[in-house]
Symmetry: C2
Subunit: 411 residues, 2 copies
């Protein structure tokens, strides 16, 4: 094992981005050791002040999604700034020449112009919809059916708070980028890789068999509360006003649940009376309301701690619902007991439990979680390092207003 | 452009899996052209009959998540079957020696034993929790806070129907696999790559600044209906009982929304009276209830078609809520007008609009969406092709009950 080099050490990616998906793709690459250079316009991009903020008005969102990246601040709308950014993207080096963006770019920053500078360029561009119209997680999620399948269906659609399509798109960008880099290593050929957020969502919805179910069976799935689809699973309130989720997919999990709750015989008799079969997952799915009717009072009479003390069989598949605060207070998986998390001092913000990549590579060291740069912090350093500029040239660009980053940025 | 070869053409991956995350990772690789060989026990793994089913009882879920893979059926619990699977995983070839699993494996199929057969093996293993205890999307999702932030918070937690953590884990597996394959290409070294579903969920929750918000600001975010967090966005019912989502993050999107609805002046006056500022996203987020109170009657008086006719400004960020059926009927992005989708005849099931990868590679052709194999369909062919076995040897294994796949499987 090479103790010194993270798995993507040396790979250089220029990111020109805003919001969630593209910055998260860059974060995932930085967490694997890549040198991710986020380029922003002077003063920052549209997401620079995105909520939540800390007490001093600094965006915790920006500070989280840009961890471990280098920040370059330049006047991207000026010809000189756009040219400088094109030079950064296309600078030589077998591990460079990779550009990720979710923003509309053209002229010097379009693929054609960039590929003239460096023919083996890899450029990955995320759009909202394939026709180039804008879309974001919420306006994509409403299009693919899930909000109308969430909750009990009585109160109209229920949005997902977690931007799943953004995060899936981020990891799809990472996959596409590494696939293209592999192709370049094997053939010398670069390429333009495109994807759209709506395609990510619609392809996933189809992959999960929602489209096949609608087309082949002609029906339409309905909102079904907190039941798991296709096997048995439901949520329950406890005596101390907590909630937990219980799932039984395998027969072993089901037997463990019946044993732990002592409900097996009574439930079997009731199921028999109604013609339900409880000996396979489809039968238990059919009988889900009956099963929950039996289990609900059992959980309601016990506290979460009492249930946890009874639910020690490792075949049981269950967990308490937690708020983020409760996750931090109660779950050792979200603490420094887990090697993916470290308490990190974020300058000006405070100490935050901060994640590295969830991937553990046996032959490559984990990159400790980093902090986000100040906007423009590495402007001078990146121009010196990647483009070989001397201090005088950098000062000239700063005096002309082509770059930001201030005096500290040149260090 | 090489017209003949998909981006991952030639890469050979053995998948030993069940449920959503690991099969989806294999699907994503197959969609990029990799030769993904799914190995199942005789009769199939635990997910072989997972709902939804078609009228003949065939799992649409299995048929969707295993498209474009080759299927090998063997008695994995017997020593001879385990040895055969180990030979498939570790067969020579610079593009082979890659194993993905979400199942507990040991003995001949553990990393140590496999790496003795092939030292440059890449093995990616997904667990539920880092301590090896089981967990699935529902029991992970309840742990990270989102169900208690979904909906209006009055009726307890609301589960996500879309298994986001599974799909994010799938694409994290794909990213980790390609990163490890890059490392092997550069150094010759293989490795064991591990991840846990709960780590994927908890790291993502932390990355999205939920942990920082709780730790630095001390508060706890609350369920907030269908409002977007941090800017303006909400859902509305129309006169014809449809719903739509409207978002304004940028000032340009906000101005377009005010112009299209004609609400600007009246809303500005009301906001002024209440001390709200509408000129930036944080101010609009503060004023979200007032804004929705103004917009709700406007939408309620108009049909979805009338609104669509008025909402032609491309700066407007909005979309109708659709069921899966409505997505198929109304949205051209989910049709053959979109090159990622093709109507595909799935043998024995029928015609289904089927997705290829959402990634478009400029220098590599798109792999047309395939169909799932019959269980064991390629057992004989894979043993011949990867291990060089002759027909007599394959028949011997079949006679001994070590492999399945029947006569058709040998073709």
């Amino acid at each position: 094992m090479n103790q010194q080099r993270a798995i993507l050490d040396g790979l250089r990616i220029v990111e020109f981005s805003a919001f969630v998906a593209a910055p998260t793709s860059g974060l995932s690459m930085a967490q694997l050791g890549a040198d991710v250079i986020r380029v922003d316009p002077i003063g920052g991009n549209i997401d620079i002040g995105r909520l939540p903020l800390d007490r001093n008005g600094r965006s915790l969102y920006w500070a989280s999604l840009n961890r471990g990246k280098r920040s370059v601040e330049l006047d991207v709308r000026s010809p000189a700034g756009a040219r400088l950014m094109a030079e950064l993207i296309t600078a030589p080096g077998e591990h460079g020449g990779i550009f990720v963006t979710n923003l509309p770019v053209d002229g010097e920053l379009g693929y054609e112009a960039l590929a003239r500078r460096r023919p083996d360029l890899i450029m990955v561009q995320l759009a909202g919809s394939p026709d180039g119209t804008n879309a974001l997680d919420y306006t994509v999620n409403c299009a693919v059916g899930f909000p109308l399948l969430t909750g009990d269906g009585r109160a109209g659609p229920i949005n997902s708070v977690m931007p799943a399509w953004d995060v899936i798109a981020a990891m799809t960008i990472a996959t596409g980028l590494l696939a293209a880099e592999r192709h370049r290593r094997l053939t010398g050929e670069g390429q333009f890789v495109k994807l759209a957020l709506s395609d990510v969502a619609m392809a996933t919805t189809a992959n999960l068999a929602y489209v096949a179910d609608a087309q082949v069976n002609g029906g339409e799935r309905r909102a079904d509360g907190n039941y798991l689809y296709g096997a048995y699973g439901d949520s329950f309130a406890t005596a101390d006003a907590r909630y937990l989720m219980v799932v039984a997919i395998s027969d072993r999990q089901w037997r463990a649940l019946m044993k732990a709750t002592g409900m097996g015989d009574a439930l079997q008799a009731a199921a028999g009376a109604l013609g339900h079969r409880l000996d396979d997952e489809a039968g238990r799915y059919e009988a889900r309301e009956l099963i929950s009717a039996f289990l609900r009072p059992w959980f309601a009479r016990r506290t979460l701690a009492q249930i946890a003390a009874l639910f020690t069989d490792r075949s049981l598949l269950w967990g308490p619902y937690r708020t983020v605060r409760q996750m931090l207070d109660e779950d050792p998986r979200c603490s420094e007991a887990n090697p993916i998390f470290r308490n990190v001092e974020h300058p000006g913000i405070g100490t935050v439990l901060t994640a590295s990549t969830p991937l553990a590579f046996g032959a490559s060291p984990r990159v400790p979680p980093g902090v986000a740069p100040r906007l423009g912090e590495h402007t001078g350093a990146v121009l010196a390092d990647v483009l070989g500029m001397d201090a005088a040239a950098i000062e000239g660009l700063r005096a002309a207003g082509t770059i930001g980053g201030g005096a500290a940025g040149a260090s």
